[in-house]
């Protein structure tokens, strides 16, 4: 039965939940397809995640392999393909808890970096799982700085082979998924040497395990890198190579080739490849970052409507914790952020699709902007969503700390996204480099990409707001964000310029400004997110019921950003002290407004209970009963521990000293 506290929340929704769900999915037809796929997967017990919180790393890994194998069967049964429209819903239904994800990266790198001949050779084997691939780039000593990789591949003209070596411990490949236990092959990135000359980092296909008995090939040392904060289901691995020989044809050679005599040739443009690599950063935002935040919001907000604690008014029933202003102030901005990032993700997907089409037409104009977008938004969105999930976790008090709440695993998984596919600080600085360059160009009247034209007109000014209601005007707060981003970029660029002109070397000047540069890049991305959210809300026009609530969320997102960064908006007096008090007042008013729709807003994300896998967040709100029943299934209750006989009993009987 439905918990009455949740039922009452749903009765008062100001909009149609179903309509908002369809909006999020991109249409009612997509919603229908998603539900069908999720239902097919989740009704199959092999894909169950119910026991995962009780499982060891070994058991999690085995379950992930079993699921991956079973999935192949299921997909054939259902007629689904890896390029079909259903695929993203499969991933959502599994919550990513499946093996062979790096196998897909292996295949993608062959299709992007390999010649037609190589594709013809390796792809059929891969799609039929005659081999299991991985992608070995990161080393113990190098992640961010790829040019610094230390693995070597030396061309031996006499045998027409490359000899791969791990010359020192820090050169060992470390972290690649599917490599510790499963992989039979991997793409190894190594410094290419021909006739004693280094040609930089190149990719090589290397077999690491026997296709017959899965034992390690000669010269290969490989294994699992041990327990991590999450990803217990993935066998992240290490790999050491000692004089491992691969044929000349195993270097992926779409763009560069070593000819039989050792001549090194480059061919074609790598720019399309470059785009593929940067677009990976965008593609992970939806599944790995926004979805977990939406789940965390669902769990924390539903639980906050069920949990009652203390009294707001004497003599009354204890209040739902969602009615406390401090609880609203923790959770509702995170909910608004989930929606803001949903819309920015839609925007980025469109932009990249467009960019991809342009590049296929050999028009590379959009590349720098796309690169800056992919770096900056990957950093900003992963960072914001990670801290948002942690806020949700802590907002659930003691019960949030139980793995059965589902929140710890959401958190430990999402936080890895701040590091993989580019460490966030480095990425922000890449965006900053683009912004400084554009600022200079714009200042001298040269054309700049559309997203940064505002840099041409950075000037001092004052926010025109006269009362707190003015701060609910999207044009007004968007302008404030634009002004602040512009000011931060221009002042940092000016400081950089000053340092250089005063004789500081360029790279030293850059390092001295990096804290400010990163802040400026974040401010730019924040501005674009607010602007895009406001524009997306405007386009919702025809769907009146949704538009109103989305407008509230957009206001909340924008005002929360100002409220939490008052200093940068006050700094040059753009917003005055009195206006800042209006911002606060408007912001706190909005919390009470959005509060009323909080539960319907998370219902619209439309996660099944199995997807949430949480005792606190289920749709019916039977939190305590579920927690109690689930805990009883814990192995600590169902299996006996030797601790009593071995240690407790002698302790209790005072015979310990005789042990």
């Amino acid at each position: 039965s439905m918990n009455p506290d949740l039922a009452s929340e749903r009765q008062t929704a100001s909009f149609s939940v179903e309509q908002l769900t369809a909006q999020l999915d991109g249409g009612a037809e997509q919603t229908r397809m998603r539900r069908a796929v999720v239902d097919t997967i989740q009704s199959d017990p092999i894909f169950s995640r119910e026991n995962q919180y009780f499982q060891s790393q070994n058991e999690r890994y085995e379950a992930a392999v079993r699921k991956a194998v079973h999935l192949q069967k299921k997909m054939r049964e259902m007629g689904w393909t890896e390029n079909g429209p259903e695929y993203k819903y499969i991933y959502r239904a599994l919550s990513g808890d499946v093996a062979f994800l790096l196998h897909r990266v292996f295949m993608r790198s062959i299709s992007v970096l390999g010649s037609d001949k190589q594709i013809a050779k390796w792809m059929p084997l891969s799609t039929k799982y005659q081999l299991i691939g991985s992608y070995a780039q990161t080393e113990l000593g190098h992640g961010t700085y790829l040019q610094g990789l230390e693995t070597t591949a030396v061309f031996d003209v006499t045998t027409q082979e490359f000899i791969l070596n791990t010359p020192k411990i820090s050169a060992m490949k470390w972290w690649p998924g599917d490599m510790g236990r499963s992989g039979t092959h991997t793409v190894v990135f190594a410094q290419l040497y021909v006739h004693g000359k280094c040609y930089g980092v190149h990719p090589f296909i290397v077999q690491i395990r026997s296709l017959q008995d899965h034992s390690l090939c000669p010269g290969i040392t490989a294994g699992d890198i041990g327990p991590k904060m999450n990803f217990e289901h993935t066998d992240n691995g290490y790999l050491m190579l000692q004089n491992v020989r691969v044929p000349r044809e195993n270097m992926l050679n779409k763009f560069c080739e070593v000819q039989p005599d050792g001549t090194y040739v480059t061919q074609g443009s790598q720019q399309i490849n470059y785009l593929t690599m940067t677009s990976v950063r965008i593609s992970l935002i939806s599944d790995e970052v926004i979805t977990p935040l939406m789940k965390a919001c669902t769990i924390a907000i539903r639980y906050s409507a069920v949990r009652r604690q203390s009294k707001l008014k004497p003599g009354e029933q204890e209040a739902k914790i969602l009615d406390y202003q401090t609880q609203q102030e923790k959770l509702l901005p995170q909910l608004a952020a989930a929606y803001a990032f949903h819309f920015i993700n839609v925007y980025l997907q469109d932009l990249f699709d467009r960019g991809y089409r342009e590049i296929q037409r050999k028009n590379f104009d959009m590349l720098p902007e796309l690169h800056a977008f992919s770096s900056g938004f990957k950093a900003m969105v992963t960072q914001c969503c990670t801290s948002a999930v942690e806020i949700c976790l802590r907002a659930c008090g003691g019960h949030g700390y139980s793995l059965l709440s589902g929140l710890p695993s959401l958190y430990t998984k999402i936080l890895a996204s701040c590091i993989y596919e580019g460490e966030n600080t480095i990425l922000l600085l890449q965006t900053a480099r683009f912004l400084v360059k554009c600022f200079k160009a714009a200042s001298s009247g040269q054309p700049v990409p559309p997203s940064v034209t505002y840099l041409a007109a950075v000037k001092s000014g004052k926010c025109p707001a006269k009362n707190k209601l003015d701060f609910l005007r999207p044009d007004l707060y968007t302008e404030a964000y634009q002004h602040t981003a512009g000011r931060l970029i221009s002042s940092t660029a000016a400081k950089l310029q000053d340092l250089i002109e005063s004789g500081v070397k360029k790279h030293d000047a850059w390092n001295e400004c990096t804290v400010q540069l990163a802040q400026a890049a974040k401010a730019h991305c924040h501005y674009i997110t607010v602007k895009n959210f406001a524009e997306a809300v405007e386009r919702l026009e025809t769907k009146a019921g949704i538009q109103k609530i989305m407008k509230n969320l957009c206001d909340l997102f924008a005002l929360h950003g100002i409220f939490s960064n008052t200093g940068v908006f006050l700094h040059d007096g753009y917003i005055s002290g009195a206006q800042m008090d209006m911002v606060t007042a408007s912001y706190l008013d909005l919390l009470a407004v959005v509060r009323k729709d909080a539960v319907p807003l998370v219902d619209a994300f439309d996660f099944t209970d199995k997807s949430l896998n949480s005792a606190l967040g289920s749709y019916d709100g039977q939190v305590y009963q579920r927690l109690y029943e689930w805990a009883q299934k814990s192995p600590t209750n169902t299996e006996t521990s030797p601790a009593y006989e071995r240690y407790l009993k002698p302790l209790l009987h005072n015979t310990l000293s005789k042990l």
Partner: protein, 666 residues
């Protein structure tokens, strides 16, 4: 065993330090003699083969519990064997044995025994204390229920007195009333002190404590009427059997109610207790421990991240030069050094609260409770402030270690999951902040009505003066000297005063508009929390600054002064809005503050490693491959990984079970 050489980078860092780390260690320990004794106890534990075991990262939860129980049993015996009785020394011994983690006897030692001492009658002590001291009785403290943590009065467990049999009948009437979370309850304890609503003669008399046997002595089986077990896996606390307890018409004799204060007479007559403000003292004490714990946990994380950042080389700063230590990047310094300064600040705050508590605890025992309300209010806020900051700081340290920070071998994930519950337990942080706010608003109201207030809130007295001379506020803006900690204390003081006043005024405005006090309070609570935070921030800057003058060694004082300045200025740069809006600083000063923060990063950089060495964590206690004293990170990561359970066999069983059959079929 072959001794590995010290990593060359770390050797260089240590040689370049401008002060002697041991001297700073002595200050942190409270004197050279305390350091000596701490190391002596550390050696007793670390050299004892009984306390050795496999790396806990490779054990299952059940195995970790078993190891913890084993070590706890030995620990209790050895403490007595060695005659260690000083509470701080016991704390050291315990934390070396368990390497800073919780253990199943925590509640027995930390709550069950002390509660018997303070709340049991002499007769009850005769019955229970010695058996509990000798661990024939192992007890826990069962307060929190599934449905109630913060709001104690809402607990639902009942204890109904039956005069016919002179027994209490204990019941868990709803699912939400099941006791949930008590440590040691799941598997270890055979008794619990249960908090329940007392019913006698048809009336509810509120919460009282009862000693409830839960498992059969001898067999350890749950008693009839008792349902008890482990609450399942958690984020951390793997070695702790946090438990649940459900009671169905479970009867205990009348004499099992802890009756030193309130009593139920045989006929069911209830005798009221005298004042119970005494429990305030215990709360203050426990919260002071959490402040200290915030400092230590953050110090451990900083030690790991800073040493690793000195060993790790990446990318290029200058074209053509070798890859630099990542500690040379400004962004990395900006992540880590403010946290290092924070760890030192919190150490001194923790020591201050502990000293104050000891100073006034004599007065408390003699019934003089005058200083208690302020200390109580202050520790509530500081507990929240320091645990929130440390919680976020530990994560920042882990992130600063990139991918390797995410591996369990870094040790930071463990520090985090062990520490993060302190934001919730012993008073949920937001609730704590609001308690402090209540005291601040009360003090503000007193000042408004013409009274003077004393102690840490005495700055509120100035507010009335400023209102008479409004130009005073404006005049002060130029007087802030950003190189002078004492002047920065004043700046923080002004900010706190301004935010307390704003919150109090907003509260008043709500009261004027609305009906109930509670509603108005709720609608102002975001402002109130901000005011509390500003107050706590001020107190911390003040205490850190005050500490500087106590340090006699010039080199140590110099480096601590830099850290103190960094702490204060970084706090301003992260909250510039408050300082600008209140007119405490100008735009130009804020720019200077930001600039000076970056200069301080460069100034502190050469001493960074020595500053974490001063925390003096033994490698065994630190539990981190990245943070090893000798800096031999990569070799040891490889050695560590080879011990992982997934590497037990070269070919994993999944190959035969799943992979091979699939390849055959596809």
């Amino acid at each position: 065993m072959m001794m590995m050489m010290m990593n060359a980078d770390l050797r260089r860092e240590r040689a370049a330090a401008t002060f002697q780390p041991e001297l700073l260690t002595h200050i942190l320990d409270g004197g050279a003699e305390r350091t000596r004794r701490r190391k002596e106890i550390e050696a007793l534990v670390i050299n004892d083969p009984d306390f050795q075991h496999k790396d806990l990262n490779f054990l299952s939860r059940s195995q970790r519990y078993e190891q913890a129980i084993r070590k706890s049993s030995l620990m209790v015996m050895k403490l007595r064997e060695y005659g260690i009785t000083d509470p701080e020394e016991i704390y050291w011994f315990k934390s070396f044995v368990h390497r800073g983690r919780p253990e199943p006897l925590d509640l027995h030692l930390g709550m069950f025994l002390p509660t018997l001492l303070t709340q049991a009658t002499p007769e009850q002590q005769d019955r229970f204390f010695m058996p509990a001291w000798n661990l024939e009785i192992i007890g826990t403290y069962a307060q929190t229920e599934m449905g109630h943590g913060t709001h104690l009065r809402g607990l639902e467990t009942t204890a109904t007195y039956d005069p016919a049999t002179q027994e209490f009948i204990l019941n868990s009437p709803t699912v939400t009333s099941i006791k949930w979370w008590p440590g040691g309850l799941g598997k270890t304890s055979n008794h619990a002190i249960v908090l329940a609503q007392l019913y006698t003669q048809g009336q509810c008399k509120g919460l009282h404590a009862f000693i409830v046997p839960i498992r059969q002595l001898g067999t350890h089986e749950p008693l009839p009427g008792i349902t008890v077990g482990d609450i399942g896996p958690k984020f951390g606390y793997d070695e702790m059997d946090n438990g649940y307890l459900k009671m169905d018409n479970f009867r205990i004799p009348r004499e099992n109610m802890l009756m030193k204060y309130a009593q139920v007479e045989p006929d069911g007559t209830y005798v009221k207790p005298l004042s119970d403000k005494l429990t305030y003292g215990t709360m203050v004490f426990i919260r002071s421990l959490i402040v200290g714990d915030s400092a230590r946990s953050l110090s451990r994380a900083c030690t790991i991240a800073i040493r690793y950042s000195a060993v790790r080389h990446q990318s290029e700063l200058k074209p053509g030069e070798p890859e630099p230590q990542i500690l040379d990047y400004q962004t990395q310094q900006y992540k880590l050094f403010p946290l290092l300064a924070t760890a030192y600040a919190f150490h001194f705050v923790g020591a201050y609260i502990k000293d104050t508590y000891h100073r006034i605890s004599g007065d408390i025992n003699e019934g003089d409770l005058s200083e208690l309300p302020e200390l109580h209010a202050l520790t509530a806020g500081l507990k929240a402030f320091t645990s929130w900051t440390a919680n976020a700081g530990i994560e920042e340290c882990r992130m600063a270690c990139g991918g390797h920070g995410y591996s369990r071998c870094s040790g930071i994930p463990d520090i985090y999951v062990t520490f993060t519950p302190s934001c919730t337990y012993e008073g949920e942080n937001t609730v704590m902040m609001l308690q402090t706010a209540r005291f601040l608003v009360k003090s503000y109201t007193q000042v408004s009505s013409g009274q003077r207030v004393t102690g840490m809130v005495s700055y509120l007295n100035d507010l009335s003066r400023q209102r008479i001379q409004p130009q005073h506020v404006a005049a002060r803006t130029v007087t802030v000297r950003i190189n002078d900690p004492v002047s920065l204390v004043d700046a923080y003081k002004s900010r706190a005063a301004r935010l307390v006043e704003a919150a109090a005024k907003n509260l008043q405005a709500e009261l004027n508009h609305r009906k109930s006090k509670e509603d108005a309070w709720n609608r102002t609570s975001v402002d109130l929390v901000r005011a509390s935070e500003a107050h706590c921030h001020y107190v911390i800057v003040k205490l850190f600054t005050a500490k500087l003058s106590e340090i006699s060694n010039a080199a140590v004082r110099a480096v601590l002064t830099e850290l103190c300045l960094l702490y204060a200025l970084y706090g301003i740069s992260k909250n510039t809005g408050d300082f600008l809006q209140a007119g405490i600083l100008t735009d130009a000063q804020v720019t200077q503050v930001n600039q000076h923060v970056k200069e301080l990063l460069a100034i502190i950089r050469p001493n960074a490693v020595a500053l974490v060495d001063s925390f003096d964590f033994h490698d065994v206690h630190l539990g981190s491959v990245l943070g090893r004293y000798d800096g031999n990170v990569y070799e040891n990561m490889f050695e560590w990984a080879k011990k992982s359970p997934l590497n037990k066999t070269e070919v994993h069983e999944s190959f035969h079970k799943h992979l091979k059959p699939m390849q055959a079929k596809l």
